[in-house]
Symmetry: C2
Subunit: 230 residues, 2 copies
């Protein structure tokens, strides 16, 4: 018995349903004038540490919240809560990605109109999240220097689905003999012209550039007078 064709067909319906929900979310985000940024990467790439720094940098000037997905535990929500920003954990059980319906449910208690930025940290996975639109404006793919320069070539779909790449843990670049030129070449081979940030949540290196990108882009794109908290 070969059940694969039927699985593919059902999967396609799920994706169609997800795309439909994601379009609805994008429309809600646009109306509420909240900028939504999602983060994908493999487990242990440093998404949470990077996001904690980002939330902490933004919170004095902007109204910020975060959703964070994991199969199990609310460890990441507790870590992110240290930034003193509202954070909600989405526990997916055995599901290896977030879906638009999960985002929709998690938004229940949040007033989007009172937010400038909403961050969504996906489940740590370089495959599953790539096909699921979450209605975000910007998708970041993170890659730590300890993972190796070849990952964009080996996981092309997720690098292709993302808008911006962030090389994390660059404080370890020398000790792991990270080949930055090769990594960049591989990223550009998959996603020509992709912007690449290089950061260390530990030393703070590169976070200023990232922060400028984020705030300038938000201000420009949304053209909001209410963007900054008075």
């Amino acid at each position: 018995m070969n059940t694969e064709p039927r699985l593919v067909e059902v999967r396609r319906n799920v994706l169609k349903e997800n795309d439909h929900l994601a379009r609805g979310l994008r429309e809600r985000f646009r109306k509420a004038r909240v900028r939504v940024i999602s983060l994908v990467s493999s487990p242990g790439s440093g998404k949470t540490a990077f996001l904690e720094k980002t939330l902490t940098m933004l919170r004095d000037s902007y109204r910020v919240a975060a959703l964070v997905g994991d199969l199990a535990t609310d460890n990441d929500a507790m870590r992110l809560a240290r930034s003193q920003v509202p954070v909600k954990q989405i526990t997916t059980g055995t599901v290896c990605h977030l879906e638009a319906a999960m985002i929709d449910r998690a938004l229940a208690g949040l007033n989007l109109a009172e937010l400038d930025f909403l961050f969504i940290e996906n489940v740590g996975n370089l495959v599953c999240p790539s096909s699921y639109d979450l209605g975000e404006d910007l998708r970041l793919v993170l890659l730590s220097v300890t993972e190796g320069e070849d990952k964009p070539l080996k996981y092309p779909t997720i690098f292709n689905s993302a808008d911006v790449a962030v090389l994390t843990k660059i404080d370890l670049a020398a000790v792991v003999e990270f080949d930055d030129a090769a990594a960049n070449r591989n990223i550009q081979a998959i996603r020509p012209g992709m912007q690449v940030f290089r950061v260390s949540a530990k030393t703070g290196e590169g976070l200023d550039k990232w922060s400028s990108f984020l705030t300038s882009r938000a201000d420009r794109t949304n053209d909001r007078e209410t963007m900054r908290i008075p």
Copy 2:
């Protein structure tokens, strides 16, 4: 429209079919007296480097081969080929795990009766491979010290599906302030009694213990006179 229940049902059929095929593979492996060891981990944990060292250590005394799964590229097969052991790449496209049917197809050119060890390197993913039995005797879950001590708690299913844990890149333990006791506590919380190896493919640390475990276990379990190449 909620398509989830139907998806779950189809997925269950696929798994049933996979379990059936995996039972067949296990029987073939047993008859051929080949010991089959699979490796799972997140992307960039060092599966390929660890496997290359393992193949190189074993090849003078044992007849060894490897299958290696990736979404795209045959980079890993080329890296593993440096060990001068027969290696076959399985390219999965968008599928985030290996399945028994893929192993079955990849075995076409290999004479199992002429092998002592067959290694199967799964796609880098801490979620998808957990439900797919490949007919292996032993499943290793690898975790690099750079990924953080919390991963067993956040990806319990895959740690639970594995028989042995391998902490990799331990040469970096000090620089990333890896908390070995916490990691071990988390592994034991998910899989009580799980044996844990600590290795560095770079410095060679811990590889002797791993090698002894592998060969003693193989000799004992299979009780083979033909195990060692004369």
